[in-house]
């Protein structure tokens, strides 16, 4: 893994200001920013680990904990908010038995909220990994989540060699 990661660091040209792009590639690679990535970046850039930590915690995009396999981002932007996004978020919490920011015990779902995904006319909207789902209501949402869970359980059985 770390070999792949240093390959990403090829793009580091010693230019100041590359810290955030580096953290972004680390997160793309690991799904979050692990301690060892911070140590590594500090080594190549010469920026103290404490400063890097300060930058990570400033930006909401960066995560210090791993996410589940499926990352749900429920939109709570203005348009979604007035179209009932609170209800959508509560329904996800209820269906999955977790709160915003948490991951389900089986490591399948992580729930976060975001402010606007940019397709407000489909409000309320959620994203599951890179897929957007719009015009939701509690019933269609529960159906969607159950469908995904069933699909995942099936692939789990057939691809148990995958080791996750």
């Amino acid at each position: 893994m770390s070999d792949n990661f240093s390959f990403q660091l090829w793009r580091y040209e010693g230019e100041p200001g590359e810290l955030i792009p580096l953290l972004q590639s680390a997160q793309n690679h690991f799904g979050y920013i692990p301690r060892r990535a911070i140590r590594y970046i500090s080594g190549v850039t010469g920026i103290p680990e404490s400063d890097i930590y300060g930058v990570i915690t400033f930006y909401s995009q960066f995560r210090l904990r791993p996410t589940g396999k499926l990352h749900i981002r429920a939109c709570d932007g203005t348009a979604c908010h007035v179209s009932g996004s609170r209800l959508i978020i509560e329904t996800i919490e209820d269906e999955l038995g977790i709160s915003v920011g948490d991951t389900t015990e089986d490591g399948l779902f992580t729930l976060h909220t975001v402010a606007c995904i940019g397709c407000c006319s489909l409000a309320p909207v959620i994203m599951i990994n890179d897929e957007t789902h719009g015009n939701l209501n509690p019933a269609s949402l529960r159906k969607l989540l159950r469908k995904i869970r069933r699909r995942e359980e099936r692939t789990e059985v057939t691809a148990s060699s995958h080791g996750r």
Partner: protein
């Protein structure tokens, strides 16, 4: 040959454009020579996505809400047999002679598209398409026929004002950066689009990325800079992808790089992705973020024109501002200034969303009224609701009530209402929106996005949020309204950057126009809109309830009783208002009042 165009912006994709495109690709592959299949950005009719357009000999026919099955129908009938579907299935059509029609023609009729001139028309991934539409003509003129001073004069004459929110005159801003000598200067494009409910910049970047690049290059020439950054919001992966493609293509064609168009002028750009911090839309915070630091605003002066990015003179403009530039240089300042009002020239793009019947992206001359936007273009309110207010400017702005619907939208009249022009987010609200809760929502947002540098912004917004929180929870105190307005005034006074200076706006405007709603929450412990859970009772609509019993099963305190297949009833003396019955009913039968 017919051209079949599928709208592939984020919005179209979310609505299912990829499946439609794949279907058409299969069909087109099966009948070689029948048509040319291509993509476009979005025309702005988000509510009708996915959209498919058939283009032939100067005529354009748009179909809306297309499913893969419908795509096949359209392909067989319109493309293969030359039989367009019936008029009522066509959302918009433009004949070669200029006449227009279609069920949704009204949506486009009042629009004046300068920024969106190519959105939904050209393939944003093809530089040739952009050139054929007149692209890079402005750049050629700027580099080969004009002096930097001439370009700045033209921008001043056009009357263009910054579209990022503050409305600062663009030509004047450019002249400041041009006036500072330095070994290096920067051009920055602010594509952070932080307003949570706005998507103008995203659509422009996805639908016409070259227009933004061309504007930046012209700006570089005018201010004497050879390097630019585009700071793009993290949530816009498609925009970043298209921008990267555009940059590569422009470099290859000699519009970017060294000695552009043999003029001796060099310019290049780099994209930086934001990492999710609203305050980074503020320009000095944005510079800090590009420099790899925490995005904290700093005191001005020195202004960016003197010391901006890496302490060098920097000119920062918004995406939409840049997208206007090439058009102005190409067509002339007078053409641009012929649109708009006396002090607000040109057009403005708005993202219509919320309870509007026709959510989407629209561009209108400055001075168009709110009512025209909401009713003539937006088609009124969804599901027959009543228009209550528009929210403009997001967390920095405010709610303008329906009674002020004839207010012209421009940099003079909107601020007079207490709201701000903002970058173009316009969220339409109906009677189901609680204004107090709305204010609470925005304060929660700004409170969590405050960078923490100024005490009033950091702690003051938290105190305001707490007061609003207790009001919506039915624990409001008689002097809360006074506390909110005095605290709001103090935060505006004592904050360093625009975030804190405008954070109280959503509260102050709702206090101004909806004081009775605040009073109802505080004095009568009731929420007129039926939104604030603590102040309402739960009921089951007998018309909708099917008697499935799911709500009763889910109620943690057994407050719901009934028999299978009969209407269930909630006992509000037991109910703890947990909301589980609402989230568990599949028939939308539980309501609050």
């Amino acid at each position: 040959m017919k051209k079949v165009v599928v709208g592939m912006g984020t919005c179209g994709m979310s609505a299912g454009a990829q499946a439609v495109y794949d279907k058409l690709q299969d069909l087109a592959a099966g009948t070689p020579g029948a048509c040319e299949l291509t993509i476009s950005g979005c025309i702005g009719m988000c509510y009708a996505e996915p959209m498919v357009e058939i283009r032939e000999d100067g005529s354009r026919v748009f179909y809306g809400n297309v499913t893969p099955q419908r795509a096949e129908e359209i392909f067989r009938s319109h493309v293969q047999d030359d039989e367009p579907l019936t008029e009522d299935e066509i959302v918009y059509l433009e004949k070669a002679d200029g006449t227009v029609g279609g069920t949704e023609a009204a949506f486009l009729a009042q629009q004046q598209r300068i920024v969106l001139r190519n959105c939904g028309t050209i393939n944003p991934e093809s530089i040739e398409d952009y050139e054929n539409a007149g692209g890079y003509r402005g750049l050629r003129k700027a580099l080969l026929e004009m002096t930097p001073e001439g370009i700045i004069q033209e921008m001043k004459d056009s009357g263009l004002r910054g579209r990022g929110g503050a409305g600062f005159p663009t030509g004047l801003k450019w002249s400041f950066t041009a006036g500072h000598e330095a070994d290096r200067k920067y051009v920055v494009c602010n594509a952070d689009e932080g307003d949570p409910g706005a998507f103008m910049d995203r659509s422009v970047l996805e639908g016409d990325p070259h227009a933004v690049l061309e504007g930046m290059i012209i700006c570089g020439r005018a201010v004497g800079s050879d390097f630019g950054y585009i700071y793009c919001r993290a949530e816009y992966p498609l925009a970043v992808r298209r921008l990267n493609m555009a940059i590569d293509a422009a470099r290859e064609k000699g519009y970017l790089g060294e000695n552009i168009l043999e003029s001796g002028f060099n310019f290049d750009v780099k994209i930086r992705q934001g990492a999710g911090a609203f305050v980074c839309g503020e320009e000095t915070a944005l510079f800090a973020s590009i420099e790899g630091k925490r995005g904290m605003p700093r005191i001005r002066p020195p202004f960016p024109a003197e010391k901006g990015l890496w302490q060098k003179p920097t000119n920062n403009n918004n995406v939409e501002t840049f997208a206007n530039v090439a058009w102005i240089i190409d067509r002339g300042a007078a053409a641009y200034a012929s649109f708009g009002t006396e002090k607000s020239k040109g057009t403005k793009v708005f993202a219509l969303a919320g309870k509007t019947a026709h959510g989407g992206l629209v561009e209108v001359p400055m001075g168009t009224t709110i009512n025209d936007l909401v009713f003539k273009i937006g088609g009124g309110i969804k599901k027959g609701g009543t228009f209550k207010a528009v929210q403009m400017g997001g967390p920095s702005g405010g709610c303008i009530p329906a009674a002020l619907g004839d207010t012209p939208v421009d940099f003079e009249n909107i601020p007079a209402t207490g709201a701000i022009m903002g970058s173009g987010g316009m969220v339409v609200l109906d009677e189901s929106t609680c204004m107090v809760e709305m204010a609470r929502f925005f304060l929660e947002f700004t409170q969590s996005e405050s960078c923490g540098k100024c005490t009033f912004c950091r702690i003051g917004t938290l105190r305001m949020f707490e007061i609003l929180e207790r009001i919506v929870n039915g624990e409001g105190q008689p002097d809360d309204i006074d506390k909110l307005s005095s605290l709001g005034g103090q935060i505006k006074e004592a904050s360093l950057c625009g975030l804190g200076q405008t954070a109280p706006n959503p509260v102050l405007t709702t206090l101004r126009y909806y004081l009775d709603e605040y009073r109802a929450h505080i004095e009568d412990k009731s929420c007129p809109a039926g939104v604030c859970t603590a102040l309402v009772d739960f009921h089951i609509d007998p018309e909708k309830c099917t008697g499935c019993g799911l709500c009763a099963k889910n109620c943690p305190v057994q407050a719901i009783s009934g028999e299978p297949k009969k209407v269930y009833v909630i006992d509000n003396s037991i109910c703890t208002k947990c909301n589980r019955c609402v989230t568990s009913c599949s028939f939308d039968a539980v309501y609050k009042r």
